[in-house]
Point group: C2
Chain length 347, copies 2
């Protein structure tokens, strides 16, 4: 349930958040409603269900001139798996609704389903329903995903405590770099074409990180089952935006050490080529679908040891601070507030 704000006055979304907050209320079985990566419901004495939904709009979240319908389907599924991963749950059942304009043909829909189901098979998720409609303009996808935990346990956004360490999985900024590469290779404006000189394998890696991201389901489950994390969120809006969400829900501040951000060699090489800082890509790039989580200092040794054993890449990037500290970033001994950014897909 990431919020995508591109192309619309941000007040609209603040409004909806306030409306949703006004109408949310306690109800039997509801463990957690609006405000986390998924809503949580107690379905039995032994189990919680996690529900998340994402709406993807053509021209806002994807551009069929840049990515294949197969990738649209794959990414749509993965974005939802990632929300469930951030709860420490296992994705299980998926519903998909499509509004299809006359410009989208039969083979596009086949490809989109192919991508969606490829992602589902990887994570053993079952397609259980959906809806289809015509659309006057633009392709719209809406996915709802149910995840489960066998215990009454989840990773919430609101559990971070002052003194906790902040971790991220994987590497940051790759998806944005991949998207920029795709945009660069298709733009018809010569002035926007930049000469990109770096290896073919770097390019393939970054484009793939954008078109076929990986939701960190087993990592989330491990953190939840072993009770290693105090809070978690998935990185869909970018580190800067999503850390802010986590801090707001936990009512804490944060200090991020920029030099520690995990950045892939390919992303570094790309940043060099286009003359921007890789840190910038890592902070603002969305859709990496990595996990951002916090852990008590007493768990750090266990996390790092077990992560090595399991082959998970987990990087400590900062610490949770009191709320009044705000969200700051340090580099070379200098500390400054982290800019408020929100990821705007292919703009």
């Amino acid at each position: 349930m990431a919020r995508r704000l591109a192309n619309s006055p941000i007040q609209e979304f603040a409004l909806i958040r306030s409306l949703a907050g006004r109408y949310a209320r306690h109800t039997a079985g509801l463990v957690r409603g609006i405000g986390d990566d998924a809503a949580v419901i107690e379905t039995s004495a032994q189990a919680w269900w996690h529900l998340t939904t994402d709406l993807l709009a053509e021209g806002i979240h994807f551009d069929l001139k840049l990515v294949t319908p197969e990738s649209v389907g794959y990414r749509a599924a993965m974005a939802n798996f990632s929300d469930i991963a951030a709860m420490g749950a296992v994705p299980r059942y998926l519903l998909i609704s499509l509004a299809i304009p006359s410009t989208v043909n039969r083979s596009h829909i086949y490809e989109l389903y192919h991508g969606l189901m490829k992602a589902c098979r990887l994570y053993d998720v079952a397609l259980i329903g959906g809806d289809t409609s015509a659309s006057k303009a633009g392709l719209f996808l809406s996915i709802t995903l149910v995840g489960t935990t066998s215990g009454r346990r989840a990773l919430f956004r609101h559990g971070a405590k002052v003194g906790d360490h902040i971790y991220v999985s994987g590497t940051l900024g790759d998806s944005l770099a991949g998207l920029k590469l795709l945009m660069n290779s298709t733009t018809s404006q010569p002035s926007r074409k930049r000469k990109i000189e770096f290896s073919r394998s770097h390019r393939q890696f970054l484009v793939r990180r954008h078109s076929h991201p990986t939701a960190r389901v087993s990592e989330g489950r491990w953190l939840n089952d072993r009770r290693l994390a105090s809070s978690a969120i998935d990185l869909s809006d970018g580190l800067s935006g999503d850390l802010r969400h986590l801090c707001e829900e936990s009512r804490v501040g944060a200090e991020v050490e920029l030099d520690k951000l995990p950045i892939s060699p390919a992303c570094r090489a790309y940043a060099r080529t286009i003359g921007v800082s890789p840190i910038q890509l890592a902070l603002t790039g969305g859709e990496d679908y990595e996990l951002l989580f916090t852990a008590s200092p007493r768990n750090c040794e266990t996390i790092e040891r077990q992560a090595r054993t399991q082959g998970y890449r987990m990087t400590r990037i900062g610490t949770i601070q009191p709320e009044r500290f705000g969200i700051q970033m340090t580099s070379d001994g200098r500390t400054q507030p982290m800019p408020v950014t929100s990821y705007e897909h292919f703009r």
Copy 2:
């Protein structure tokens, strides 16, 4: 999970149905996947969960020149409650996603939520999550609703048996008549304006049946809890279309006695005014959100007696026949095949 086919080549939807069928598979806990009003999952030894989703597109399912945003929100909720009612379940938890174009302003969204939550309060349904996005063109709503049954029981489309009686709740055709009244009162083409002479209360009744329909939740629950029905579906596409869905899933035919169709005095008066048969409105009009169900002859006396006691209007309109009989309708001793129609909203 009704299918709305307006404005799009019908093959597109047959395609998706085939794709969905191809990818559907048995999975742990899944009682019923694609093909019914909702998917059904066993959540514990004592309970089933029912999940349904509906996508509503501006210009396809609603026209903001004809109906208020409040009504759009109300009807969107009710359409989903109706799917859950047709399973014999109780609607519980709702997620809503909105894609909002720049033409839709803040007060529209307030009104839409107001209508949605009015419907939710009536049925004690909790809003637990959602997503928001910008839209390049057109307002899109996607709702996912969870319903529950405390027993491992549901009303499915596939249970109708030859010899069963066919029932509908309420009256048919009112929503279509109400929509036609709205279209008539706003059209700017004088040639399409018809002089409508009937009482103000008839008009109010029909417009309200369109703008604020009622999902038959307590009726569905009663049929399921008492094991009175052999199959059920909700009337979203119209009697002709939805009876066909039920017969296909049950692999049976049906004979409908047209003279028995329950038609409100207001709908009869409206049909007279515009010079069409009220039967025509009843057969083809969608979005009545009544229940269509079948019952063994041995249950009919109980159904009719209990319905009277409870104040439910239930009308026997025909019988289930062998599959080779097809779907036929009789009137004045003449029998003919029921035409294949699909409801096209405001066209």
